[in-house]
Symmetry: C2
Subunit: 448 residues, 2 copies
């Protein structure tokens, strides 16, 4: 359903400085309006007009500030990588990698994520110890038409810690970072689900699943947050060839979620406690929860055995943050926004690049900045009129026609007074609001 | 010649937080160390380790601050464009465009600059009026080995004004911006050369050059800043087929440079003053210099008839900033750094994208951020030791071995006192320097 933006900004600028026209922040606008065959951006990509670019800058600024507070330094790597660097790292998803034409040189591809280039960077420079962040675009030949809100070019915001440290301290810091960022951005209530690949593998083992089916079973379990257990079980038995009894045994475990108490319970579990991997994972999970308790953030953390994560390269702790509800009705159509952060431990990836296979333990988190961006963009959606000569009357008529409830008027007088005139389009009532209070006032008026 | 960096940073960090190891800022290090066949970045690209990334962030921050002061808003466009969008815009340079494999969809390419995507964006969104900046990477399949300091992936920092305004006001603002940025960055003395394509074309016309040879003659003249007139003349006559007399007539004009006085002189020139284009260009140049006088920046601006600029799409004012000398001997090998900013007016480019050919007048400037970056990087080059457990002794021995004259020591005590201990490696003398005075003190000590 089309929703009009709640606000029109009326800028009555001072001539002769060129008028700056900020574009509308309507989603997807960059892609649509093709005039002739050439006048479009490539499928699954979009321009970011000034209003969007400014919002993105603020959002990234807040994320970067958190990464820096935690002592990370920025690095940058090329958008292009050798094809060879990317191959064999993404399983089936390799088909989504953009490849460049062989133009008589090296075989190149666009990076698929920031993690594999990071591992390549560590191995190439023999770095065994670094805390870095990297915010940049990645490329996936996904089908953007069928996957709502997904683009083929999008930003990733990654924070990773490489190096050998005392157990679970870097892992705990990653979770603390997710907690800080989601709290700072005031996205509403959220939950960070945590699990460990070793625990999952232990569960599979004690349920009688052959090791060759661990990864494919993981990908089925990963659907538990979207479909009920019965469907997941059917896929396990029908498609993945597990016995119904084994599936039921797995079902008993993966539907469990809780906190320290659940960890203790599983540590006493007669079968699991006999499995070396599971025991290691549970011991570390207990230690992790102790650190999280010290950080005071266990309230939003759930040890959830259904969390599996798609990527092959995780070797230990995995986690994923989801938004639990939306704050007001202007974003009600975004309930399915899903995961807004995720990550985990990948101790084997750097070793894949090292000629001697030397491992560098790594743990990291990726903030789902595109999803957060679309939530924030929806929240206070403002538009400006694309008119060279926008008289007040024309702009207010536009508001009435489009059902835009509020107009912010900024003229010479308002500029010098440091205020914005907020006009209720329906009642025509106007009030001067100090600039610093404008966002709050708009939010208040837009409340249901 | 290898030059040791003048400074080693000794960070005595507090455990157990992971030690942050900043990499050396030696140029080109990212590319070299290939272990096995896969362990490298693509030809002509490089990683930016933390020290470089931080310097780049400060540099870009300063440029962005200037762009914002001048009222520009950021936009972002995809790294990928349809091939069709880029074709026919770059003349011979089209061969340098990176093309993607046809993977069963659209034919795509990596952007070659930010100007053509900007023009595509304006036409697609029917924007006739905007002041925008855009800082992003562009891609050229140049031969990085033969072209010193040039990369295949590099940043551009563009500021452009689109729209119909009173003559020369936006053009003057672009020059003011170059002046502000180069002054702010304290890169040493600089000169901004200004010319106008209409004046050049007028000169060619009155010297008897056929219009079909204007563009090729431009590209020969553009070499005048590197080779003497005799060589340029030889190319004109030998390669481009001009008569020696016509070349000599051109030579008389293009060796002129000056200020308002030269403009007045040319306006009285019996031949040029009869040429419509030249007269228009000279009239506008006069107006431009009047604005630049009001801005108080004519001291660093030269009306230079030898400036031609390579790109085809310029239609009016063109300009280019060059550094005149280097500040101290640590950058003496960078004398050939050349142009650090350039731009001009291109009133026809947007019309190439509009189905009805509607033109949007544009003028813009591109800051040569990569060149400025390499100058700043050389200026205070600091290194850190890649050691997991860097004892003070080991680090100081490293300084002695490498000929690094200064070490900055930051331990618990220095952190709490807000100082840095600066050690003269040779004399072993140590002095506490307040943090805010460190850069100045290092510069003072490094003076010849």
């Amino acid at each position: 359903m089309f929703r009009p933006p709640p606000l029109l900004l009326l800028l009555l600028t001072r001539c002769p400085a060129p008028r700056r026209l900020l574009s509308a922040s309507r989603q997807g606008q960059g892609q649509g309006r093709a005039v002739g065959s050439v006048l479009k951006t490539p499928k699954g990509t979009r321009d970011h007009p000034p209003a969007q670019a400014a919002l993105r800058e603020r959002l990234l600024g807040s994320v970067v500030a958190c990464f820096k507070r935690h002592g990370a330094a920025a690095i940058d790597t090329p958008v292009l990588e050798l094809r060879e660097t990317l191959m064999g790292k993404y399983g089936d998803n390799a088909k989504l990698i953009y490849e460049l034409q062989d133009q008589g040189g090296e075989l190149l591809a666009l990076r698929y994520d920031l993690t594999v280039p990071f591992a390549r960077y560590l191995a190439m420079n023999k770095i065994t110890n670094i805390k870095r962040y990297h915010i940049a675009k990645v490329y996936r030949r996904d089908n953007p038409a069928t996957t709502r809100g997904r683009y083929r070019e999008f930003y990733q915001c990654d924070f990773d810690i490489a190096g050998q440290f005392d157990p679970m301290l870097p892992d705990a810091e990653c979770l603390k970072i997710v907690h800080e960022i989601l709290s700072d951005l005031q996205l509403g209530d959220f939950l960070i689900k945590v699990n460990d690949r070793r625990i999952l593998n232990g569960v599979f083992a004690v349920c009688g699943i052959p090791e060759s089916k661990f990864i494919t079973t993981c990908s089925t379990i990963d659907k538990l947050d979207k479909v009920p257990w019965e469907e997941v079980k059917n896929e396990m038995v029908g498609e993945k060839g597990l016995s119904p009894e084994a599936a039921d045994r797995i079902g008993e475990y993966v539907q469990l979620h809780g906190s320290l108490d659940l960890i203790e319970q599983l540590l006493q579990d007669p079968k699991l406690s006999q499995n070396k991997l599971a025991k290691e994972g549970l011991g570390d999970m207990k230690l992790l929860f102790e650190y999280l308790t010290l950080f005071g953030i266990t309230g939003k953390i759930s040890f959830d055995l259904s969390l599996a994560r798609g990527l092959d390269y995780y070797t230990g702790v995995i986690f994923e943050a989801v938004l639990l509800q939306q704050e007001n009705d202007h974003v009600e159509d975004l309930v399915g926004v899903g995961s807004v952060a995720g990550g985990g431990r990948y101790d084997g990836l750097v070793g894949m690049f090292d000629p001697k296979g030397r491992k560098v333990p790594c743990v990291g988190v990726s903030i789902g900045i595109e999803r957060i961006f679309s939530i924030l963009e929806q929240r206070v959606k403002a538009e400006m009129l694309y008119k060279k000569d926008p008289t007040m009357l024309k702009q207010l008529q536009y508001c009435e026609n489009m059902g835009i409830p509020l107009a912010a008027i900024i003229g010479e007088q308002e500029l010098s007074d440091g205020v914005v005139k907020l006009r209720d389009v329906a009642t025509r009532e106007e009030v001067d609001i100090p600039r610093e209070g404008l966002a709050d006032e708009i939010r208040r008026r837009l409340e249901p």
